[in-house]
Subunit: 147 residues, 2 copies
DNA sequence: GTATATGCAAAGGGTTTGCACGGTT
DNA sequence: AACCGTGCAAACCCTTTGCATATAC
């Protein structure tokens, strides 16, 4: 599962293209990247690639399970490779920085939700907003804001 | 705090207008409403109101703390009144329905995140995605999808 | 050789903004 | 009367789509 992306694509009935390899590599390299950021990264090696291709490739990569996306704010979603350990995104509303914590930290919550409602939570999908340690101690309420 | 929205607006330096009262009422009535849905609701009483006004009013209402928004999917955010008990939104990726659970269920998680990273999580802000009880038992993977 | 993937450009949905008018204070 | 808020329309993202060409198989 943490191997041979090409085989994974083929298994899904998709062809191997330079764009797909480049976009996947960009997602792996960047972590938490938006489509726009992914395009920039890809452009360093292949300036001809189009944004619409990035969108289409991301759909494909997500379909075969090589990447996942999370909604970090009102803007574009961010993508990360599934080869990374599952994690929850913590987004600071003041400085907009993103940090990660393992999803295992929420295991009890997921279980409790399941038992209470029958809902199987995919905790890594959405980001959790709040204020990071630095902004809590430094900045006063009402700074820039990521949202 | 669960009182006199007009006073809250004034305290924030804002004027009282019919639009602001209508939009707030719509948010209270609808729960989990998008700007578009709020507009429809408002239009029943005041057909002249404009979408841009809804957006501006929501910003104001959020600024003074009368409403909050959460990102439920890739689409528009949904707004709810702060007079409601704080809750976490559970969004089913198959049937797109939204259910709520009290934020208290995540108290341990919030504490753990705080202790581990110093991050103060605002757990109610983002929706948690997953699959609801019905869709887990009925539908097979790959239904309509809300995302 | 054939079906799929890409680039390009245009369209589409959601949100924001400039401006003149109207309403609140 | 002064200033803030609204309606309207245009502008602006971000994302999707139609079509002809290029590419993987």
């Amino acid at each position: 599962m943490t191997e041979a992306p090409d085989a994974t694509l083929r298994a899904g009935g998709y062809r191997i293209t330079a764009q797909r390899q480049l976009v996947l590599q960009a997602v792996v390299d960047l972590r938490h990247a938006t489509p726009e950021q992914i395009l920039s990264h890809v452009h360093r090696q292949a300036p001809g690639v189009n944004l619409s291709t990035v969108y289409r490739v991301l759909t494909v990569l997500e379909d075969v399970g090589l990447v996942r996306h999370a909604h970090i704010s009102t803007g574009s979603p961010t993508y990360h490779a599934t080869e990374e350990a599952p994690h929850i995104h913590l987004v600071c509303r003041d400085c907009a920085r993103v940090q990660s914590v393992p999803t295992s930290i929420a295991a009890a919550l997921v279980t409790e939700i399941d038992e209470g409602t029958g809902f199987l939570a995919d905790i890594g999908h959405a980001a959790i907003h709040g204020r990071c340690r630095e902004c809590r101690s430094t900045t006063k309420p009402g700074a820039e804001g990521s949202d």
